[in-house]
């Protein structure tokens, strides 16, 4: 066990001792600052009293909608929840997150997760393929450590890197968001309706949940890139294929979903966005549930790992 931790430590050393890794952190910071400028123009700052007025207006128009005959039951449910939340805000004097550092953190964070996915895909692709192209694989695999442990340590170090990146992003978002939009909204709670009543949740926890859901695709893409780099021993191929799949995959599922074929729901990219199951939009393909998506994700995940592991164990090292 101690030896295994040493292996992860080794992989970490190889990740963070490279200049390229720190360039990634630099780029992340630049992207966050860039987002702050871009979004500053869009976010309208509301004055103290305005928000209560506009929430009341919003509630009135929603109540008018509710009285209509033809309203669908789930829309009705949704509207009632929103009215309740708005009412709660007005009563307890909790302004909405719009125009605060939190809104910035949420929106910029969602936009930047694909960037972190890209960075982690690069790290993961280099993790195995790099050893082959450097020739160090020959020194790495003649140690008293089974190959599967070496592979696992590399995978874990890659995931660890994505966690470090996500966490850095989180902190930087709050810092930059606070500087640009003011830190005064820092203690705002997140409000949600659990079906019976309005509840408060801490905002960082809310964002962490959102980011975690947004990272499902990250984990899948990194696992995919890790597999490709193990199979082909080429990091550029792994990076290229992963990026292509990331952009084309979602588009393809989106287009295919118009087609109304049953098999589409088994595709990986029909299932990477889990947020609809947590009350944010609707699934890309009709009729799939959270457990179905988790199953499809799990099968892909295992398949990727199995292929990578099998080849890594069996392969003759000729590099």
């Amino acid at each position: 066990m101690i030896r295994f931790l040493h292996l992860v430590q080794n992989e970490n050393m190889k990740i963070y001792r490279r200049t390229g890794t720190w360039v990634m952190f630099g780029l992340l910071l630049v992207a966050i600052i860039g987002m702050a400028f871009l979004m500053k123009a869009h976010l309208s700052s509301q004055s103290e009293d305005d928000w209560k007025q506009s929430l009341m207006k919003e509630n009135k128009s929603m109540e008018i909608q509710l009285r209509k005959e033809e309203i669908l039951p789930h829309v009705k449910d949704e509207l009632q929840k929103m009215i309740a939340i708005n009412q709660y805000r007005i009563e307890k004097d909790i302004p909405p997150m719009e125009g605060t550092m939190w809104e910035f953190a949420r929106d910029a964070g969602k936009t930047l997760i694909p960037l972190i996915t890209l960075f982690t895909v690069i790290i993961g692709a280099n993790s195995v393929a790099g050893e082959f192209s450097w020739g160090t694989i020959k020194l790495l695999l003649i140690r008293p450590v089974h190959r599967s442990k070496v592979l696992l340590s590399k995978y874990l170090a890659t995931l660890l890197f994505s966690l470090v990146m996500l966490f850095s992003m989180f902190l930087l978002l709050l810092l930059v968001g606070g500087i640009v939009h003011g830190f005064d909204g820092w203690d705002l709670p997140h409000l949600y309706h659990d079906g019976e009543q309005v509840k408060e949740q801490s905002m960082p926890l809310h964002l962490a949940t959102l980011f975690a859901l947004g990272s499902v695709e990250l984990v899948m893409m990194v696992t995919f890139s890790f597999m490709v780099s193990t199979v082909f021993r080429s990091s550029s191929m792994a990076i290229g294929l992963s990026i292509f799949l990331m952009f084309a995959g979602n588009q393809a599922v989106f287009i295919l979903s118009k087609w109304d074929q049953d098999w589409i729901k088994y595709l990986l990219f029909a299932n990477t966005d889990l947020s609809p199951y947590f009350g944010d939009g609707t699934p890309l393909v009709d009729g799939i549930t959270l457990s179905f998506s988790l199953m499809v994700l799990g099968i892909h995940f295992l398949l990727f790992h199995l292929i990578a592991w099998w080849l890594f164990i069996k392969r003759d090292i000729t590099a």
């Binding site: 030896r3 040493h6 292996l7 430590q9 080794n10 050393m13 190889k14 001792r17 490279r18 200049t19 450097w134 020739g135 160090t136 020959k138 020194l139 790495l140 695999l141 003649i142 140690r143 008293p144 450590v145 089974h146 069996k314 003759d316 090292i317 000729t318």
Partner: protein
């Protein structure tokens, strides 16, 4: 060699695509001995070595290290082995020291003191905290040896350790390996395609050709048979006169005329003397050339060919 061998290679065979890259190789390596593994490029040296360190799977036969089967108990068997396979490629973006720490973490019981000891042993103390990308080839080779020695192996396997080194570097490695074998009682397997180098370094030499280990010979025996005779070609004018003179002086091994030149086998020491005599007798000497023989020819000659049959 009454001691127990550290490494036993038994009927080792590698078949790739129906072709026998390595064919039934048998070797025993003993402590304190440097074994030279000699053969032209592509003869199967590196494939044999890769099988001995578990980088390649074994098609037939087995490798036993310190009594442990490499296949059945890889982790235990390989912990007795230190190796450089082909070039000593290290992580260039790390320092030499970080590279050693990296490999030390992968073995049990390699302490910081051992790393320092190995660094001193290979004479890299001054530059060990520099990035490997700033190292010369010789320094990388030494760092490669350092990583192979970290865990105090009983068998050291070095694939072409003198590749790309200058003569001084080669001599340094040679002395160094001799000392290791003598003082630490290591068994060392060294591969090369240069016979002359092997002669100076090794106790025994095994020749591999087309995947087969065709002969294993004590270097002492080789050296005794090689009395410095070389094949020399003289390009002279006039040819006949020169041939007559040379035949007179060299009665034992008469010269032959090949391609308008005279060829004869002679002790190296005699070449300047023969040259002087030819000039004295009014022969114009245009060229004196030692015929370099390819490795196999040399070796076949040294072992009198018959041994192979």
């Amino acid at each position: 060699m009454k001691e127990k061998p550290i490494a036993q290679v038994r009927h080792l065979t590698k078949i790739i695509g129906g072709k026998r890259i390595v064919d039934q190789v048998d070797m025993d390596l003993y402590p304190g001995e440097i074994f030279g593994f000699l053969g032209p490029n592509g003869a199967g040296k590196t494939t044999t070595i890769r099988m001995m360190v578990g980088l390649m799977s074994v098609s037939e036969g087995e490798v036993i290290i310190d009594g442990i089967s490499l296949k059945k108990n890889f982790e235990k068997a390989i912990s007795r082995v230190g190796a450089i396979v082909e070039n000593p490629e290290m992580y260039k973006f790390l320092t030499g020291y970080q590279n050693l720490v990296h490999f030390a973490r992968m073995c049990d019981g390699v302490k910081k003191e051992r790393i320092d000891e190995v660094v001193r042993l290979v004479g890299l103390a001054e530059r060990i905290h520099d990035k490997v990308k700033t190292y010369s080839l010789g320094m990388r080779q030494r760092l490669g040896i350092a990583q192979a020695l970290l865990h105090q192996p009983k068998l050291l396997i070095l694939d072409e350790p003198t590749n790309g080194l200058d003569p001084a570097g080669i001599r340094e490695i040679r002395h160094y390996l001799r000392r290791l074998a003598r003082e630490e009682n290591l068994a060392i397997l060294v591969s090369s395609h240069i016979l002359a180098e092997m002669e100076l370094m090794c106790d025994r030499i095994g020749i591999i050709r087309e995947g087969k280990l065709i002969i294993v010979q004590e270097v002492r025996d080789l050296v005794e048979k090689n009395q410095g005779d070389v094949m020399v070609t003289f390009r002279v004018h006039p040819l006949d006169q020169a041939k007559a003179l040379l035949s007179e002086w060299m009665t034992k091994q008469p010269p032959k005329v090949v391609d308008e030149c005279i060829q004869l086998t002679v002790d190296q020491e005699q070449i300047p003397f023969l040259n002087a005599k030819l000039v004295e007798n009014g022969i114009q000497v245009y060229e004196i050339r030692m015929e370099s023989k390819n490795l196999e020819e040399q070796f076949l000659e040294l072992t009198e060919g018959g041994v192979l049959l």
